[in-house]
Amino acid sequence: MNVTTASVQFTGSAQSYLSPTGVEVAFILIGLVVLGSALLVVTVRNLVHAALWLVVCLGGIAGEYLLLGAELVAWVQILIYVGAIVVLLLFGLVLTRAPIGHTDELDVKHRAPAVVVAAGAAGVLVTVVVDAYRKVWLEPRAAVPLGTGAANGAALFKYWVLPFETLSVLLLAALVGAIVISRRGADGDSDEPESVGTD
């Protein structure tokens, strides 16, 4: 009902400067940028440069969300991932050890198992997503009403309330854990070597 009228409106309007194929082309190009920058994150030998490529990668994903009509998710992605998480990462790097130039200790010894694990995880995710959306055709222009704040809020707090609350409990547990770990050193005898952080 709504979807069909919306698609008619958007394709018929003079303001649709990106044709549907244009959207798809842009989507694939940004996807290539995301993939390339993700590879650079793990191959670049400078820690801060790696963090910056991570910014490009996450920002590109926000662009993909925008192309799919998920406006709210796109800006939240930038606000949280680009604006908070990677900034915190950079903060930690700058605070501890981020020399200008190459860092040589970045290579891991167990390269082959790491590749296997990464390929396995990627395979599982791709299979699940492809299988789940095999028969779904998403019209990007028609998806705009689904991406608004109201639609997202309704979906989140009506149908996905339980996972949402579970996630918040998980985050709370992580927070409490972080406080416990950081306080253990402060309260105990500072002369004893701490076992925290060796794992």
Partner: protein
């Protein structure tokens, strides 16, 4: 009587000039380009104006005169400074990470410009006979967009500090990233109350929702929290720790010069305008006329709203300057404690209260006769809570025994260090060569006694 051709050509001028585009470029595109260029120009001119404004106002507050030579009342001083800055040598430190050193000022300036795009400067007006609102884009999640874009601006500062390869900029970058992340949380929480009241995240929708009363009256605590957070977010005095001149020699931009430095300067002043514009939009009615003027029916139509918006904006800029001229800089730990232990808990509690009121209103259980006593009760409980916490804090301070201060070591850790609080440096005799026989030898800085030094 000769025919006066100008009248005719003036009439057709718009058609001749813009009509030639008509077949190729749609009108909405031309309007968007015009508005974008206008927004850019307004931001740059406002920056030049605000620098002059700040210097003059601070001068008057300090009983000086300020810049008054270049142009009328010194108005062109900032322009002259800008040209001078552009002609200076562009120095890149040897230790710098060159590409990041280049990108940092851009990452600082570009988001600053982008954020203004969603701010409504007025209602629909006629430009070349076409109706359009004085707003570049009306995003449904516009306020979120501003928050997201301004959070990108942090990168400029952090990367500038890191890539300079120098100590003071690094310290400035550390301070600023911690500061901006902390105050962003309070900022976002203060907006949540407005979203609950307006029912939308679009700036134009929020301005429309303030038709019958500004949110400053309805959500005073949100407005106050936002105003404090915005000063922290823009790194302005009294929260200008990232570039504390006395401690960090300018902070993150110590190593920058010429146009790269100018970009940081530009970004700072544009951010000043952006956060002020956001404050006006969210809490002070946006482009709506203030009360006595709003009785006139034409006050909120045509181009007048832009004037009201500009006046409100400049009042906010004045408040920024006033703060700078009045308050001393906070110590870093006080500042962080204030952000995390006061601003964020208070905004969370306040958000709960707002949500409760909103829900009761929506359910229809709350009329004015009940709302006022409940509001007063909540305010009283809140005040009691704050007082109780403060009393507890003071009691704790009184009960804790004074920490045992170790004796003063002039060379703790191998470096000459100043005495800590509670310690006092031994008095240095005025003339060591005469005092040596009378008093005990003063600790020399290189760790040897005076006698040893003299025998070398």
């Amino acid at each position: 009587m000769p025919q006066f051709p100008d009248a005719v050509s003036n009439q057709n001028m718009t058609n001749w000039f813009l009509g030639s585009f008509d077949t190729h470029i749609p009108w909405w595109f031309i309007l968007v380009v015009i508005k974008a260029v206008a927004a850019f120009a307004i931001l740059v001119v406002l920056t030049l104006f605000n620098i002059w404004y700040e210097r003059r106002v601070v001068s008057f507050m300090q009983m000086r005169i300020g810049p008054n030579r270049v142009g009328p009342q010194g108005l062109l001083q900032s322009l002259a400074d800008g040209v001078k800055l552009a002609l200076k040598e562009d120095i890149v430190p040897t230790n710098a990470d060159k590409p990041v050193f280049w990108i940092a000022p851009l990452l600082s300036a570009i988001p600053a410009f982008l954020a203004i795009a969603v701010i409504p400067w007025g209602p629909a007006v006629s430009i070349f006979g076409h109706w359009t609102t004085l707003q570049l884009v009306d995003l449904p999640v516009g306020v979120l967009y501003v928050l997201a874009i301004s959070s990108i601006g942090i990168y400029g500062i952090v990367l500038a500090g890191w890539s300079s390869g120098s100590t003071y900029p690094l310290l400035g970058a550390l301070r600023s990233s911690a500061q901006m992340i902390s105050y962003e949380v309070a900022m976002g929480l203060s907006f949540a109350g407005v979203f609950l009241y307006a029912g939308t995240m679009s700036p134009s929708g929020i301005v429309n929702a303030q038709q019958h009363g500004w949110y400053f009256y309805m959500l005073p605590l949100s407005a106050i929290i936002y105003i404090i957070a915005m000063v922290g977010e823009t790194n302005r005095a009294p929260f200008d720790l990232p570039e504390a001149e006395g401690e960090l020699v300018g902070g993150f931009h110590t190593e920058y010069s010429s146009l790269k430095f100018a970009l940081f300067f530009l970004a700072e002043y544009i951010n000043l305008v952006t956060v002020s514009a956001l404050a006006v939009t969210m809490f002070f009615g946006g482009w709506r006329a203030p009360v006595p003027i709003s009785l006139w029916s034409g006050a909120n139509s045509g181009w007048y709203p832009m004037l009201w918006f500009m006046i409100k904006l400049l009042i906010f800029v004045f408040v920024f300057i006033w703060l700078r001229g009045t308050l001393p800089r906070l110590r870093y730990d006080q500042f962080m404690a204030f952000g995390w232990k006061v601003l964020i808990p208070v905004s969370v509690l306040w958000l709960l209260v707002v949500a409760l009121f909103r829900q009761l209103r929506n359910a229809g259980d709350l009329d004015r006769a009940h709302a006022v006593p409940i509001g007063i009760g909540i305010a009283a409980v809140f005040l009691l809570l704050v007082v109780a916490l403060e009393v507890r804090e003071r009691n704790q301070i009184r009960r804790t025994p004074p920490p045992t201060v170790p004796d003063y070591e002039p060379l703790a850790g191998g470096f000459p260090v100043p005495p800590m609080p509670g310690q006092s440096a031994p008095a240095v005799p005025r003339r060591p060569q005469f005092a040596r026989t009378a008093a005990a030898p003063a600790p020399a800085l290189n760790g040897t006694t005076a006698e040893e030094a003299s025998t070398r």
